[in-house]
Subunit: 211 residues, 2 copies
């Protein structure tokens, strides 16, 4: 049985899994789930992933992994080459820390800004099966936080090729998805962040980045 | 050089690291950082952890790990027995997923409820060096989310001894810290959640739980 990725081509969360699979060189089938029409909330998709989110990954053994945390941990253990989460304890710590910060200070802040301001997201301030109303102050705060995080990333990347270790890792994946997704709330990287710009331009050489 | 944990005995985030070190059987020194007086923002502590948060862990080699993500990844790789993050790829996925959910749907929701309502937390709606004002709606939403998450945990624990796998893992640590910390926003587990109550009562037999 081949790997199946439940995906949505336009969304940032499944992009993390797409890049991960590509960097591991893992062939897989793709099933598109249309978030614009609410297909993730359909009865059919609930049977696949009760969390009503993408990505989900069906393994070769038929088990469904329902979030990026599970997918990254599984793929790294099951298909260890090339390593994307560090090899030494010290490197594993750096990858875990920067991937966590890129998620919490980056992606989550952007999601707060977007979901709490977009007319398309009324009552969808959080993903998943439960509706939550928008909180406009949270949209403002999210934009401030992601700008702060881009400063953090820029400082980190001074004199460095990649964010966490000497090689490309999961931290770079989560961070690049955040950087690119931030455009949706009109936050971009600028000449004030030269290290971040250099890193993003250098990553563009990787085939996985077009995914 | 011995392990040094920068800790605060009354706070939930460093409790995660305290329990982790105890479950691994790792002796260490402790340095208390007084969050009530803002010691985490002092110049001296910034030299240790520029993120101004606890926990931080100084390794035997003298490197400082500045968040729970780094600490867990490092400790699991450097001191693998007993394993707390799963052994098989499938178990690693379950631990990663449930630890992530306990953090985002549990701890983060409680922190939102507490930091956005407590008079002691005015302008401290997020941890770290940057001040953010409180958002009252976020306090309400946080309480609703953590109640929702406790329902999720209760359903997961039906017929199970531990949250992620057949043995105690990091997911149990993060979840028990969330369950206990929720009291601060007056959310408790009740007879409506019999599986969650049984799990918490059973965990009480572990020496690490008094930490």
């Amino acid at each position: 049985m081949s790997l199946i990725l439940y995906d949505c081509a336009t969304a940032p969360s499944p992009r993390r899994a797409r890049i991960l699979l590509a960097e591991k060189g893992l062939a897989h089938e793709t099933v598109q789930v249309d978030l614009r029409t609410g297909e993730q909330l359909s009865e059919a998709y609930r049977q696949v992933n009760p969390l009503c989110t993408v990505p989900a990954l069906r393994t070769e053994e038929g088990r469904v992994l329902t979030d990026n945390a599970a997918i990254a941990a599984y793929v790294e253990a099951r298909y260890p080459d090339p390593p994307l989460m560090g090899v030494t304890p010290e490197d594993k710590a750096e990858v875990a820390s920067w991937a966590w910060r890129a998620e919490f200070e980056g992606l989550l802040a952007i999601a707060e800004a977007f979901r709490n301001s977009s007319p398309a997201m009324v009552n969808r301030a959080l993903p998943g099966p439960v509706d939550y109303p928008q909180i406009p102050e949270l949209a403002q705060r999210g934009r401030a936080r992601v700008q702060q995080f881009f400063q953090t990333l820029d400082a980190r990347l001074a004199g460095r090729e990649f964010i966490a270790t000497e090689r490309f890792t999961l931290a770079d994946i989560t961070a690049v998805v955040a950087v690119d997704f931030a455009r949706i709330v009109k936050v971009g990287i600028t000449e004030q962040q030269p290290h971040l710009m250099r890193w993003r331009a250098h990553l563009a050489e990787r085939p996985s980045m077009v995914l």
